[in-house]
């Protein structure tokens, strides 16, 4: 090991350890805001628990609204983590190294958020466990034909796999941090290190295991959101019943997830002084992913609409799409198009992509757009179904908005706590890269 490599290793470790330093007032203020938003959402939800779902704006025919939108949105956010850590790992895309840990943390916390909402929207949430297959005195299995059961499996599998993947990646870093940690941190990193000593044998097993985990997680990226899309595609509701949904939902999920990663990375690398590790070129690569998935999403929109408009006059599906574009939810539709199609397309210009404020703005817009996309799918289809006599407009109530915003509070609370505990970048992999770099440098010099 050369001195310069040692310097590089030390600087990486120091930078990461610095993020775990005593938090400043800005951190506490941020945590307090996120926590109180989450608490207000929870209190709003307690109203529903106390007297029922009449607090929502739901009504026949629209039985699903904001809360299901939130679920799909957060499941979508969860997708980029695994994409970046697993698929890009398999593709040997090096730029992932700097950003994948934050993406993985985001994934786990987003799944933790997403998993709440199907339960929160239940009429009798205290019986949510009935959706799990367990031996019970009722002698009754769940209905395996129901996409909601598939959802239960998809989301819980995804939660388990993404958590394991995160922890496996953390193990060598935790060992590195344990060395100089004291108190509860030392005990925590001791646990998270899983007995990591950094022997050659451990490294051999570890890299092999990591590869397998990556290979195992990769299909989940595609499958989980496909399953979520089946919640809709399996039904016979015009606007939901579409074979296009699985790929369309996966692309949308990755678009929103990557946009969310960028949205988080930009402030985090400044606030936690990670500029040296998470470089602009990394973010630039992510922005290119946004362009790609944005184009896929745009293509999906176009396909869906053009196919629906082929229908004869009076066809309910055609009617639903015209309703989306011209009805009372038209502003949702056109905002969605602006955010998800036009926004990513602007990133084709290097100047836009490399301007941090513009990139940040577009990524936030994409997230707004992706939330609206799910709202558009869930709500506008329901409120304009087959029997016109039943058509009715759904407008979320303040309780539902409080719960929707509360989801962000909950997510960022978890994320901010996570930032203070877990290493936000992979120390081991960065060291590996630094070593490679110095070897390459040495080779050139030699």
């Amino acid at each position: 090991m050369t001195t310069s490599t040692g310097e590089a290793f030390r600087s990486i470790e120091e930078t990461v350890r610095a993020t775990h330093g005593r938090p400043g007032p800005a951190y506490w203020i941020g945590l307090a805001i996120a926590g109180s938003v989450a608490a207000f959402g929870a209190w709003s939800y307690s109203l529903i628990v106390r007297t029922g779902l009449h607090w929502t704006g739901l009504e026949r025919p629209g039985m699903w609204g904001n809360l299901i939108t939130d679920f799909v949105f957060w499941v979508g956010i969860a997708h980029s983590g695994t994409l970046i850590s697993a698929i890009l790992f398999l593709f040997r895309a090096r730029f992932r190294t700097a950003v994948y840990r934050i993406a993985e943390m985001m994934t786990v916390f987003a799944v933790l958020t997403a998993g709440l909402y199907p339960i929160l929207h239940l009429g009798r949430p205290w019986f949510a466990h009935w959706l799990f297959p367990y031996p019970n005195q009722r002698g009754l299995w769940p209905n395996f034909r129901s996409p909601l059961i598939w959802d239960v499996f998809a989301v819980s599998t995804y939660l388990i796999v993404s958590t394991v993947f995160l922890l496996v990646g953390v193990a060598p870093d935790a060992a590195a941090l344990r060395a100089r940690a004291t108190g509860w941190r030392r005990r925590l990193y001791g646990v998270l290190a899983f007995g990591w000593k950094g022997t050659d044998e451990q490294w051999r097993h570890y890299t092999r295991a990591y590869l397998f985990f990556a290979a195992f997680a990769t299909p989940l990226v595609v499958s989980v959101h496909s399953v979520v899309s089946w919640d809709f595609a399996v039904s016979i509701l015009p606007g939901w019943h579409s074979t296009l949904f699985p790929p369309y939902f996966v692309a949308g999920a990755i678009l929103s997830g990557v946009a969310m990663v960028i949205t988080i990375l930009i402030p985090v690398r400044r606030a936690f002084r990670l500029e040296t590790l998470i470089e602009l070129r990394h973010i630039d690569m992510l922005a290119r992913l946004v362009i790609l998935t944005g184009l896929i999403v745009t293509y999906s929109y176009a396909t869906e609409i053009l196919l629906a408009l082929q229908g004869p006059a009076g066809d309910p599906e055609r009617s639903t799409f015209l309703y989306r574009m011209t009805g009372p939810y038209a502003f949702v539709f056109w905002t969605m198009v602006a955010c998800n199609c036009v926004g990513p397309a602007l990133l084709l210009w290097n100047r836009v992509r490399r301007s941090t404020p513009l990139l940040m703005g577009i990524c936030i817009a994409v997230n707004v757009g992706m939330w609206l996309e799910r709202f558009n799918i869930v709500v506008s289809s329901l409120s304009h179904d087959r029997l016109p006599f039943d058509w009715r407009i759904y407008v979320p109530t303040w309780v539902e908005w409080a719960m929707t915003v509360g989801a962000f509070g909950w997510f960022f609370t978890l994320f901010m706590i996570g930032m203070k505990i877990l290493p936000p970048v992979s120390i081991a992999e960065l060291k590996e890269e630094a070593a490679h770099a110095s070897h390459e440098g040495a080779a050139h010099a030699g």
């Binding site: 007297t51 029922g52 779902l53 009449h54 929502t56 704006g57 739901l58 009504e59 026949r60 025919p61 039985m63 699903w64 199907p118 929207h121 239940l122 009429g123 009798r124 949430p125 019986f127 949510a128 009935w130 959706l131 009722r138 009754l140 769940p142 209905n143 034909r145 129901s146 996409p147 909601l148 059961i149 239960v152 919640d231 399996v234 039904s235 016979i236 509701l237 006059a313 009076g314 309910p316 009617s319 329901l382 179904d385 087959r386 029997l387 016109p388 006599f389 039943d390 058509w391 009715r392």
Partner: protein, 968 residues
């Protein structure tokens, strides 16, 4: 006087004697849960009372003057549901929405619990019945001593024992016959006057619409409130059931398309008040010698007089093209017999007597009298007073000439136009005695409240018409310390200085005393054993016999002359609009409008509940700049009201429609006329800028090219149906039964009786106005009403009763994660409330959107909870619910059949909606049995299924309505 406890024993003895009639078929005592002063458990339980088994009593409905027979279902001593009496010649087993809701009057939370007297502080305070009756006796005696007219009685129509007691009481109190005033504001009085003047016939004509090949209704909503709506719907369905040329054709004449008009084949869109001109126009064409239409000889003398009428003037007065009148007249000439009905409240304006007279002449001219229209069959017991008489009573009260005013189930303050100033008049009366069951605007002015028993707690009889006397008997002991008004009057009457001679003061004995007359009328001779005959009649529900033959009345052509003048042209400013005030099938004349079911169930035509609404045509709405839900101010010389607008293409551009209620009553004038005037008022309508969220059920009233509710005609006798022969997956099989339903849209009138029946049978909760505004109506069956293809297209109203379709390929079933909804072997989509976690996916995937969700816990305010059907779960919040095809009735029928070791008979199991349908549009049965009625109907050429292209394979077959538009 007898000891009160003795009387109570007497009534209970009666229960033991008469017992039950009907499907339970047992005679038994009951376990009256209110008579628990001495609670002694049964040591030897009565043999026939089986806990859990319903016990049925026959009685009669007192909600309107139609007097339908009722079968009350009781469970463990309390009434749970009212159904029609299948043996009763009026309703034949059907009961309308209002009749069924009467049970909520019985259990109304606000019912008076005992006699009350207004204290010096102005508050009502309880007192004992003895004190109350003494006080009344003293006041009546003191007032009677001052001379006639000091004691007056304002009552609803009481054609029975109660009316007889009232007359005897008033006589003993020294009152004149005219001091008893019968308040029945919606009585078609003009028809009485016309029949009297032209034919010398007393009473209203009785119609047999089943025989008619043509019906012309001049604002007479005979399927909603006019005369006998249940009977009208049944008779129309019978006439509609005839095929080809004999099929009844209905024409609705009026400025507004009423629900009755929706069932009509043609709408003559005359202006408000133009109905008389239309009728005259018909007469003009029929009597035109050039047309050579055969008419009765009696009307021939009128021909020259009628010929002097200028068609152009008539068309102008009517507001419709002359050709339309001509076409209708020629059709009437061809399609006989016919029936011309009118006026109804919507056409009862200044020219109503003329309209009634011309309609009567037309009936005579077309030979309808004696075939579809019968005079001399109306009941003679009691006659509604004229508007003049009501006005005179109120004037006397206002002048301080009345000392005691007895108010018996009449609400002059709440049901008369405000310009009658009943409130001010009653305030001048020193003693206003009310027999009301629960507070109303009149009891607010009462000094002594002597709450009557509910009809379901009373003995009485109702003479409906010649040959029909329906008997009212208690189906349970009174809930509170109330006393039947007839008994109170009888008891007070015996304490007067000149006591009235009553056979008894016990209502049962009072009824028994009249039984001899009824039995003699029914049997032709005096019965040997009156008690047996009377008991049988109580078990059956009434004394019925063929109407006595009456001499066909002859038209007095001379008397007819004055009615043939050209009606006066429409007056008023061009900026004003005609105000069309209409009663609705649910709220009737407004007396029962506070019953929760009647407020909760949305009006079929507007889909509005819990609120009044002002119908404005799209053009008028555009001119006024208002949209549905915006408040508009309606002003007439009599008053002003602010009502939310409802844009409705079924009303003329020069008119607005307002349902009967406090708002309408505030706008109507009180004119000195023999008849009440409900129409012919001009109003100024302006937007106020205010807005409400009007509780409307409808989303879009248009079909949007989706062919949801097809119709058939001679040219296209079958609806288009998709080819569903390709199968991808195996479908559920039904080894024994496959319960199914057929709904004949040609018969459905949208009367909403099924909706109320479902509320009653299935404990469907009433959620209130707020929930209605939020679109959270809980009903399991609704009547979807489509107005046409698209906004601005031709008005083509089609009704589609929508309830769970119990699909074979039910989309709701696979998506439920917890098997809360699943397919039973009998083809039902069962909903297991206990399993439901409330994902609501089933509703999202239901193409018919017939599932309702419990957004909050339902409230059944005591004692309304006593009405709940013990066979049906009351659902908690967070679960889905929907129509079950009345699974409890299916199980009951299956169990009965199994106990008797036989298969279930076709027609044995009847869900509540089918049971009560006046038009018998709903048929239920087993689709596995190819010979069942429902299977045969499913093979009918008119059959179609709702949203059939989704391949849900519903168990409900609809039979498309038949359209004869344009044909003659």
């Amino acid at each position: 006087m007898r000891d009160p406890s003795e009387r109570r024993v007497g009534r209970r003895t009666f229960f033991r004697i008469t017992g039950a009639a009907g499907a339970a078929g047992v005679a038994a005592g009951c376990s009256p849960q209110a008579a628990t002063e001495r609670l002694v458990p049964w040591i030897v339980p009565p043999e026939d009372v089986v806990p859990g088994q319903p016990l049925y009593y026959r009685t009669a409905c007192r909600e309107c003057s139609a007097g339908c027979g009722v079968t009350a279902r009781t469970r463990e001593g309390r009434a749970t549901k009212l159904e029609g009496n299948p043996e009763d010649p009026i309703g034949r087993g059907a009961l309308c929405a209002r009749g069924q809701a009467a049970i909520q009057g019985l259990y109304h939370p606000e019912r008076f619990r005992g006699p009350l007297r207004r204290g010096p502080g102005g508050a009502l305070a309880p007192l004992s019945w003895d004190e109350a009756e003494d006080a009344l006796a003293q006041s009546v005696a003191a007032a009677g001593a001052k001379g006639p007219g000091r004691v007056r009685l304002l009552t609803r129509l009481e054609p029975g024992a109660t009316g007889a007691v009232q007359r005897a009481f008033m006589k003993a109190a020294g009152a004149r016959p005219r001091d008893r005033v019968v308040l029945e504001p919606f009585d078609p009085a003009p028809l009485r006057i016309a029949a009297r003047a032209l034919l010398g016939a007393d009473g209203l004509p009785v119609f047999d619409l089943a025989e008619a090949r043509s019906i012309v209704a001049f604002g007479a909503d005979f399927l909603e409130t006019w005369r006998s709506p249940v009977e009208g719907a049944r008779q129309l369905a019978a006439g509609r059931g005839r095929l080809g040329e004999d099929r009844t054709r209905v024409t609705w004449v009026g400025p507004r398309l009423s629900l009755t008009g929706v069932s009509a084949d043609r709408w003559v869109r005359c202006r408000s008040g133009g109905e008389g001109a239309v009728a005259l126009g018909l007469l003009r064409v029929l009597l035109d010698p050039a047309r050579s239409v055969a008419v009765a000889a009696e009307v021939a003398p009128l021909s020259p007089r009628v010929a002097r009428l200028d068609p152009r003037d008539l068309a102008d007065r009517a507001g419709v093209p002359w050709e339309e009148i001509e076409r209708l007249a020629l059709e009437l000439g061809r399609r006989r017999p016919s029936a011309l009905l009118g006026p109804g409240a919507q056409s009862q304006g200044a020219g109503a007597v003329q309209l009634a007279a011309v309609a009567t002449i037309l009936d005579v001219a077309l030979g309808n009298v004696g075939r579809t229209v019968f005079h001399g069959r109306d009941q003679r017991e009691d006659v509604p007073s004229s508007a003049d008489e009501v006005g005179a009573l109120l004037a006397a009260a206002a002048a301080g000439e009345v000392d005691v005013l007895l108010v018996h189930h009449a609400d002059p303050v709440g049901t008369l136009p405000a310009s009658f100033h009943a409130r001010e008049a009653l305030a001048k009366v020193p003693l206003v005695v009310s027999f009301a069951l629960r507070p109303d605007p009149t009891t607010a002015l009462g000094h002594l409240v002597l709450p009557d028993n509910h009809a379901l707690e009373s003995f009485d009889d109702v003479a409906v018409r010649a040959g029909v006397v329906n008997l009212v008997q208690p189906v349970m002991t009174p809930l509170a310390d109330t006393r039947q008004a007839a008994q109170v009057l009888a008891e007070v009457g015996t304490r007067l200085p000149t006591p009235a001679a009553f056979p008894s003061t016990d209502p049962f004995d009072l009824l028994l005393a009249r039984a001899a007359d009824h039995a003699r009328a029914a049997l032709g001779t005096a019965p040997a054993d009156l008690a047996t005959v009377h008991r049988d009649a109580l078990q059956r529900g009434g004394h019925w016999s063929a109407p006595p033959p009456s001499r066909p009345p002859r038209l007095d052509a001379h008397a007819a002359e004055p009615f043939l003048a050209l009606p006066a042209p429409a007056g008023g400013m061009p900026s004003e609009l005609d105000l069309v005030v209409f009663p609705t099938a649910l709220r009737g004349d407004g007396r029962g409008a506070d019953l929760p079911w009647l407020r909760e169930v949305p009006d079929t035509l507007s889909s509005v509940s819990w609120s009044p609404w002002l119908e404005v045509s799209p053009a008028t709405a555009k001119r006024l700049g208002v949209a549905t839900g915006e408040l508009v101010a309606v002003s007439t010389p009599a008053g002003r009201a602010e009502v939310p607008a409802y844009v409705f293409p079924g009303i003329r551009d020069d008119a607005v429609g307002l349902p009967i209620g406090p708002e309408a009553l505030a706008l109507l004038p009180a004119e000195s006329a023999p008849t009440f005037r409900w129409s012919g008022v001009r109003a100024t309508v302006a937007r106020t800028g205010g807005r409400t969220r009007l509780p409307v059920l409808e989303g879009s009233p248009y079909q949007h090219g989706r062919e949801l509710v097809p119709v058939v005609s001679a040219a296209a006798p079958s609806p288009h149906r998709p080819d569903l022969s390709a199968k991808m997956y195996p479908e559920p099989t039904h080894p024994q039964h496959r319960w199914a339903m057929a709904i004949d849209l040609d018969r459905c009138t949208g009367c909403q009786a099924c909706m109320v029946a479902c509320h009653a049978e299935n404990n469907v909760p009433v959620m209130g106005a707020q929930a209605a505004t939020e679109g959270r109506y809980m009903g399991w069956i609704r009547v979807e009403r489509y107005l046409g293809e698209a906004p601005g297209a031709d008005l083509d109203v089609r009704l589609l009763p929508m309830l769970c379709q119990q699909c074979t390929n039910a989309p709701c079933e696979p998506v439920c994660p917890v098997y809360a909804t699943y397919h039973t072997p009998e083809g039902l989509n069962a909903q297991i409330y206990n399993r439901c976690v409330g994902t609501r996916y089933c509703s999202n995937n239901c193409p018919y959107k017939v599932r309702t969700f419990n957004w909050r816990d339902a409230q059944f305010e005591r004692p309304l909870d006593m009405q709940l059907n013990p066979d049906v779960t009351v659902r908690s919040r967070g679960v889905m619910e929907k129509c079950t095809f009345c699974i409890q009735r299916i199980r009951h029928g299956e169990n009965e059949a199994r106990d008797e070791g036989r298969p279930v008979r076709d027609g044995e199991i009847v869900p509540a909606c089918a049971q009560t349908c006046p038009a018998q549009a709903i048929v239920f049965g087993d689709a596995k049995d190819p010979d069942s009625r429902v299977s045969r109907l499913a093979r009918d050429g008119r059959a179609f299924r709702a949203l059939e292209e989704t391949n849900a394979q519903p168990a409900i077959t609809y039979l498309a309505g038949v359209r004869q538009r344009g044909e003659t």
